[in-house]
Symmetry: C2
Subunit: 346 residues, 2 copies
């Protein structure tokens, strides 16, 4: 087992100084052709590679991006990571991943672990618990220590940093527009409690679409699901809630759900009640994942373009990292959503 070889070892073997080796390897004209060749041959033989850690220490740059997301077993976040990784690697950066698991404490701890020199900057999406507690000190501290942050999807306006979001309101408005245009008269929405910003915004889009069509919103048609219900164990009770919604309002002929799982479950309930999709009732979800594509019937969704968000976020962060002295100007990039029409709508 040969340990990784260092400049010093090469220098010893070849009876030259460390700096000579270093220069020779970088092909410096200071060094004679002879020694250069000798050193390079030797280095190649022993497969020399400069030690990243030493370089990081010296350059005060790690060429590594820290990513903190609430959850990775989630199609959207996985796609974002892929986008980040793609751009990061292309631009010579590594990606280190931390999962907050929707917990405030884990988010803070993870950020602290990484902020102590391991990375050059953060890309993150805020955990639900943090959003609920509205405690953002860890973001501000990180930023004030000179470490740039790019937030995506779940962001907060008060924090000054680059952001990549989609226009949740517009996206859901378009979706509901579609349902109304398709002739739906009683469109229900299945959404989250309001503290989840994207849930709130998507609800607003729903209301706006109704307004545009001069329809008065009916609170009976608005189901605000308690978030806990997303955890696997509570899916059954979610199903019951939706069933009650449908039974209370037999006229529902269109459903907009703020994520794909809600939509899929709602379709399941509808089918159980012998409703025909899309003839009796139409469905649109949000976030384009595997479920939407492969469900039967396949689900029309508002696509969030996770990978693109990741790519953009990585570009923003690396740009900031590589133009240190630029004026402090923060950008909020809005990624366009689009409606992917499938079988669940006419």
């Amino acid at each position: 087992m040969k340990r990784k070889i260092t400049l010093k070892q090469i220098a010893n073997e070849l009876d030259v100084s460390i700096s000579t080796v270093s220069k020779a390897l970088r092909n410096s004209i200071e060094i004679s052709e002879d020694t250069r060749e000798k050193v390079q041959a030797f280095a190649k033989l022993y497969n020399y590679r400069p030690n990243n850690i030493a370089l990081s220490l010296k350059n005060r740059k790690t060429k590594t991006i820290g990513v903190i997301i609430p959850e990775i077993v989630h199609h959207f976040f996985a796609k974002v990571i892929r986008g980040i990784e793609l751009v990061a690697n292309k631009r010579g950066y590594n990606v280190i991943v931390g999962l907050s698991n929707e917990s405030f404490d884990k988010e803070v701890i993870n950020m602290q672990m990484l902020a102590n020199g391991s990375i050059d900057g953060f890309i993150l999406s805020i955990s639900k618990e943090t959003l609920q507690q509205q405690d953002y000190h860890h973001f501000n501290e990180t930023i004030s220590q000179g470490m740039p942050i790019v937030m995506f999807d779940r962001v907060i306006n008060e924090i000054h940093c680059d952001k990549v979001i989609i226009d949740d309101m517009k996206g859901s408005k378009n979706a509901v527009d579609k349902l109304l245009k398709n002739g739906c008269k009683h469109v229900a929405i299945i959404t989250t409690k309001d503290y989840v910003s994207v849930g709130r915004l998507r609800t607003q889009g729903y209301l706006q679409a109704l307004e545009d069509y001069k329809m008065t919103p009916d609170s009976n048609l608005i189901l605000k699901v308690d978030d806990e219900l997303l955890s696997e164990d509570h899916l059954d009770s979610l199903e019951k809630e939706i069933e009650e919604l449908f039974k209370r309002n037999k006229k529902i002929d269109g459903v907009f759900a703020v994520n794909e799982l809600y939509a899929i479950i709602a379709m399941k309930v509808a089918r159980k009640m012998n409703l025909n999709i899309p003839d009796d009732i139409q469905f649109i979800g949000f976030t384009d994942g595997v479920l939407s594509k492969h469900a039967t019937p396949s689900l029309t969704t508002v696509s969030q373009h996770g990978q693109e968000m990741g790519e953009k976020a990585a570009d923003l962060l690396i740009n900031k990292l590589e133009n240190e002295d630029e004026e402090e100007q923060y950008e909020t990039v809005v990624i366009e959503t689009n409606l992917i029409e499938r079988e669940s709508t006419k």
Copy 2:
């Protein structure tokens, strides 16, 4: 914007030496109570944290695990990552992720990037291209440089390292057993070409189950899908292939698919042909993902326990890292699969 504070800065401010500060912060009894308090107060005020990079360089340990997977937008791999991250964090390690995107070159490059000091060891699952080319030099080189590797799921016997796998053969044998026990007389299998080891093993399990039931395998019932078909664009032709399979063999009353997507698509085809699931035909897939759970009908699957694999892999790797001098003994851990019965079987 205050830069991160260092020992040296604290020492300067307080007019003591760097080592005094260092010792004071670690509460060394060498240092007087007085200075200790003074230093600690100051450090706390400025939120001092030791620089990880410097520690890594000094200790020759990064406390970071490198994970190379073929794809992250994939429920199974995402679950593995979550498992790895869980254990790693608990044991004080970070996780850095590289995606090979099923490409040999990217796998090699990614490993090289990380092997130069950025991490202490690898957890990885081999890309399809690498498996096809059977070029494993990068693994051997890494290992011979003293950097431990733990492979999971897609592994190769020739490489000496810890491994975490499932018993693919047994898992699929159990699945097919179930179909046969349920009365299926003509069980088809939808699998991959043989170079994908897990596909090959699962096919073997299928054959073995038949043998146990004294049934002779019918090559007409074995569909070996070209792997390219998994890429999103080719799903249509996969659908056609399956349709032809069903039309060629009208008697098929059971289908075992080596992954959940194949199974879901096969169910779709069956439904289109007006076959009733599970009365006319039963289905079992492999890998328990979201699709299986939320499909209609929900799909009976062999669960792979991705998270558990990740946890085990992380434990194996960290154990190896923290017991350097132990004898070189490699372990292959087999994670039990189990059949999750849902609506697609009787």
